[in-house]
């Protein structure tokens, strides 16, 4: 157990009526700090389910999930929420910004939830993130006034603002045209290289997979490396 993420024989069953669906089956993955990992596979293969396990959004049916040394299996909602807030950053396929908040406020939001930084430090941190994703000028704009690529940059800044141990991205480029998508992956890769942030993302796109330092292939709920 040395990786920042350790999945050991993780199985997840979802109830479906009287039956249940096995979304992933005995998945074991170890991901080290600073890796830039792509999870790839066909639709329905279990990519989102794996990311949900890693992201403490759900707990496995059997097997263990360990995130930055914490085993999540027996944790309740409160503890899982704390883990997500402090250790994990999320980037979504459809950006998922809070549409009544502007770019600055969206990025600031997780810091406000944490409530640890002073107002001044918070402001400095948000501005630093805006600069890193190249949106200093757009800080006062609301999501509906931003392009898709800009929205995903805001989302990246929001995911990184708390200095999480891992950043998860479920198909971050799927809703973007290929040029913009490439730029987003490049941005993530830069942040990974320059700041050592661990990224785990799922994708269908071979060009995106190419950028990964590590590729986990899944099919039918199993890892097929």
């Amino acid at each position: 157990m040395s990786g920042i993420v350790e999945l050991t024989k993780v199985t997840k069953d979802y109830p479906l009526g009287k039956l249940s669906v096995r979304a992933i089956d005995a998945v074991s993955i170890s991901i080290g700090k600073g890796e830039f990992t792509a999870i790839a596979g066909p639709s329905g293969s279990g990519k989102t389910t794996i990311l949900n396990m890693i992201g403490c959004m759900d707990v496995p049916t059997t097997g263990t999930v360990s995130i930055d040394g914490t085993i999540t299996n027996n944790l309740y909602d409160h503890a899982l929420t704390e883990l997500r807030l402090n250790r994990i950053g999320f980037i979504f396929q459809s950006f998922n910004l809070i549409n009544v908040l502007d770019a600055y406020q969206n990025i600031e939001f997780p810091l406000l939830l944490q409530g640890t930084l002073s107002g001044k430090a918070r402001k400095a941190r948000v501005n630093e993130m805006l600069e890193k994703v190249g949106l200093t000028k757009q800080s006062g704009q609301r999501p509906n006034e931003l392009s898709g690529g800009q929205r995903q940059r805001v989302a990246i800044a929001r995911a990184l603002v708390t200095n999480p141990a891992i950043v998860l991205a479920d198909e971050p480029t799927a809703n973007l045209d290929s040029t913009t998508g490439t730029a987003i992956v490049e941005l993530m890769r830069d942040l990974n290289k320059n700041e050592g942030i661990t990224f785990i993302f799922s994708t269908h796109d071979p060009k995106v997979m190419d950028r990964a330092t590590r590729l986990v292939m899944v099919a039918d709920g199993r890892v097929v490396e």
Binding site: N52, G55, M57, D58, D77, H78, T81, E82, R84, L85, N86, I88, F90, F92, N96, L97, I98, N99, V100, L101, Q105, E108, F109, P110, L112, L113, Q114, R158
Partner: protein, 447 residues
Amino acid sequence: MGVLFLIAIRNLVQARRRTALLSGAIGLVTALLVLLLAMSQGIADNLVRSATTLSAGHVVVAGFYKPSPSQAIPLVTDAAKVRKVLEESTPDLDFIIARGRGWGKFVGPGGTVQSGFGGVTIADEPRFVSTLQLAMQSEYKDGGKEEILGDASRIAEPGAAILFVNQAKRLEVDVGEAITFVTETNDGRTNTIDLTVVAIARDMGMLSSWAVLGNMDSLRTVYKLNDDTTGAFWVYLKDIDRADEVMNSLRVSLAQAGFQLMDHQGDPFFFKFEEVGGEDWTGQKLDLTIWRDEVSFLVRILDVFNVVSVFVASVLLVIVAIGIINTMFNIVRERTREIGTMRAIGIHRRRVLMLFLIEATMLGLFATTVGALVGAAGALGIDAAEIPAPIEAMKMILLADTIPMAVDPVTLALVVVVLTAVTALAALWPAALAARLRPIVALGHTA
């Protein structure tokens, strides 16, 4: 968490039409409730004013004198001694007046009126003249002049009588004209006395149909009373709200001074004849009441009005609450993915609950404040416009000829607080649902 307020406000502003509709409904109910309460307060104010002018002091020290077990005369004997106790031991005393109590038939050129006859000792009552509002001749006489005839201070003259408009109309008398008071005296004989109308006052609700005011000496003459008697002492306090407390303390003082007391009973004295007449004691007993007891039948009407008002407002409130619940469920459904996102980022359930409660509370606060102000403005407008009561029977209930409205800031604030709380409460269920959503389910939701 200022950001939760920001999110709530911006969402309310963004859903402009929905917010407007919902706050319109909440505001309407608030305004209606404020109007009903203002009317209730207006009636209550009138009730206090007319009761404490025509029927009672804040505390009433009266009683019955029974020369034989079967007779009950509403009289206080040993009046000077009673008054001395009252003057010495009434807490919060403002002033004391003595009122003679008579009952009989007033006969005028146009008809007769059954009424009480209040015996006034003007020397006792410095404020008497100012509490009565005299009517213009046109108010009680067809083709009368727009001019006040008569003078309330002439009540001091022997044989003087002051009528109210309703009585003057029925008797068809004017100021300066004569009427006759016919009554049964304490020994069971009929006696009469001629009176001169010295002033005609504006009605003060239904109580003024049973009150003719006259000189105490006229009462003494017609009932053959000695100088050391009176009908009742009306004790006025600096603070009417202390009436109950003062009555109880006076009971103790009077008992210590050796007076016999009747048990307290919350009814006007004229309801008590039968019972007192059936008791087998003789001599004098004092009976202490407060103003509310002397007009208990009107207080009951007001209570009914209040119950009906609260019922109507509650029904409307329930309907609006259902609307709020429904709307909040819609809001939660529309924002499910946003809730999922926030939960993924790391917001706790309790804060999701708060977010929606804040939203509902702000909506409620805004809507009820506007509604309360509109209602208050409407109430003040109606009061100022002196809109006449549309039906005669309403005048009795309203205790006034026009619709009375009184706006009390504390009541307004209370209405705002209570209705805002109701709004928040209505949002509790949808907000709890939002808080309970599992993050992956909420995220997967496509609105």
